[in-house]
Amino acid sequence: MKGKGCAVCLPADIDTDVIIAGRYLRTKDRSVWAKHVFEDLDPNLAPALRGAVIVAGKNFGCGSSREQATIALKEAGVMAVIAPSFARIFFRNAINIGLPLIECDLPCQPGTPVAFDLAEGWVNASEKRIAFRHLSPRMQEILAAGGLVEYWRNRQ
């Protein structure tokens, strides 16, 4: 899977409460999560995420297991999240709903283009190419299927 987008820079230890607050969870309407994503961090951030690649500090997605956090990012138009490390439940959730994650320590320049190739394992930013650790074979299969729902639907 390949993709590209403009960098949106975020700090380390972004928790899932800050990605989507508990007060917005009780609905099945995914547009609600996209609308309120990062509201408690920066209310102006949500519209800037369409076509963006989030470049964050370590431990992105820590805290609650709420899958709405990953769905909120995807629905808001985020192409991928790049961080030196992810909290493990968030990691699984993102792959399971088809949101690419890249474990890579990338210096972030706001607004600059970032390109990535998951199969080949590189990120391109500011004319530099950085290699990153591949996802496990199972995670690559799930992502290639479009998510875990599609992965299992194909096997029924």
């Binding site: 508990g22 007060r23 009780r26 297991s65 709420r66 493990r88 699984r92």
Partner: protein
């Protein structure tokens, strides 16, 4: 020679395995998306309904008609599917799993981040999101990367007013919010023998706040006796020499009462350094500190006194509530001026029943103090039950007296 995770998952650290799940549980929050994902998998079948639990605890009773409608759909599904179901007032999912359901050596997966809690029984217990849970409903299995393990070696015993929660916050502070990411924590050493199951559950509960996949104790005589009283016959597990990626040692005698300062669980300071910080609310409960032993500790401090600030107490389960009624513990708590909530998560996640207002400060026995978690503009300090009790009486953060 294996760590407990390697032994239970049957493979060395760093490898990937598919494992049958002995117990899978979700709650009213994650259950909604789980059901939706499971239906989308075109499944129409559950792998084994006897191994699946659906336990309402997050917003119980429902706070509005939107929540009620979502819960209604989930409740109807649970009843028609003959899976293990607990309705409102039954209690917190992790506590219900700890009342004779989870057994040593089992693989347990919960759709909630604090599903590391029942690792206290010597099970491999970990959290996932809704779609992973849906796949477990469908197949009865999931994949794991077998974690490396960090040894938290305990010696000595608690002195003064320190409690297991103070140790929990202290180890989170030592490791940091991501110090154990992708790893499991194993609590070992002679200091573990004197810890009750309630103590161990508190310690395992905070494991995820270091990024850990699991927090585990080896089953011993304490585990065997606790489960025996709940009708389960189990054997102890014997630790064997194994490779840990990190060893951390705590002498329990060195632990002092501490508070985690918002908005991070790993920003931990001695209670004494925050003394006299005014409070608007005290909250005692949750999967961290809402068990019977916690209510007893709290009641002993507030008994025949009056709280000076609004104080919400929420028992972790119906079994805890009933025991607290029978023994008079609950009467002491109510007579001290506290407000009771029905068993469940209470205001921990900021959805209902004790949400904070702008600028308000809460001292809570829960496990998270993230920005706005309990209400926009509210701040959460985390502490032990004894610190919460002493502070409730004073209306400000107060160091508990030595019992």
């Amino acid at each position: 020679m294996s760590t407990l995770s390697e032994r239970i998952l049957g493979s060395p650290a760093g490898t990937y395995v598919d494992r049958k799940v002995d117990r899978a549980y979700a709650h009213d929050g994650t259950g909604v998306l789980t059901l939706e994902a499971w239906k989308s998998m075109d499944a129409g079948r559950l792998s084994d309904s006897t191994r699946i639990s659906l336990l309402f605890d997050h917003i119980v009773p429902a706070n509005n008609s939107t929540t009620a409608t979502l819960q209604h759909e989930l409740r109807e599904f649970a009843k028609n599917s003959f899976l293990h179901f607990s309705d409102i007032g039954g209690g917190i999912c992790h506590q219900l799993m700890s009342e004779g359901v989870v057994l040593p050596g089992e693989v347990v997966v919960g759709a909630d981040s604090h599903s590391c809690t029942p690792g206290a029984f010597g099970a491999f217990a970990t959290g996932v999101g809704a779609t992973d849970m849906a796949a477990i409903w469908l197949t009865g299995e999931t994949w794991f990367r077998v974690p490396e393990s960090i040894n938290i070696h305990l010696s000595g015993s608690f002195t003064g007013a320190a409690e297991p929660k103070d140790l929990a916050l202290t180890y989170v502070s030592r490791l940091g919010m991501d110090g154990a990411t992708y790893c499991a924590l194993e609590f070992t050493g002679e200091g573990t023998a004197a810890l009750s199951m309630d103590d161990r559950l508190t310690l395992c509960n905070l494991a995820v706040e270091t990024g850990a996949k699991a927090g585990m104790f080896y089953a011993d005589d304490v585990t065997v006796d606790y489960l025996k009283a709940l009708g389960q016959a189990v054997r102890p597990q014997v630790a064997e020499p194994c490779n840990y990626v990190q060893d951390i040692t705590f002498d329990l005698a060195d632990i002092v009462p501490v508070v985690a300062v918002p908005p991070r669980v790993d920003t931990v300071k001695p209670v004494a350094s925050l003394a006299e910080l005014p409070l608007d609310q005290v909250f005692v409960g949750t999967c961290t500190n809402g068990r019977y032993a916690d209510l007893v500790r709290f009641s002993r401090i507030v008994r025949k006194k009056k709280v000076a600030v609004r104080t919400i107490v929420v028992p972790a389960s119906r079994m805890v509530l009933e025991k607290a009624i029978r023994t008079g513990v609950l009467a002491d708590i109510v007579e001290a001026g506290c407000t009771l909530g029905s068993p469940g998560c209470g205001p921990c996640l900021g959805a209902h029943m004790g949400v904070l207002g702008e600028g308000e400060v809460c001292l809570s026995t829960a496990n998270r103090n993230f920005k706005n978690r309990m209400g926009v503009g509210g701040e959460i300090y985390l502490s032990s039950v004894a610190t919460a009790a002493a502070s409730a009486l004073a209306g400000e953060i107060t160091e508990p007296e030595v019992p």
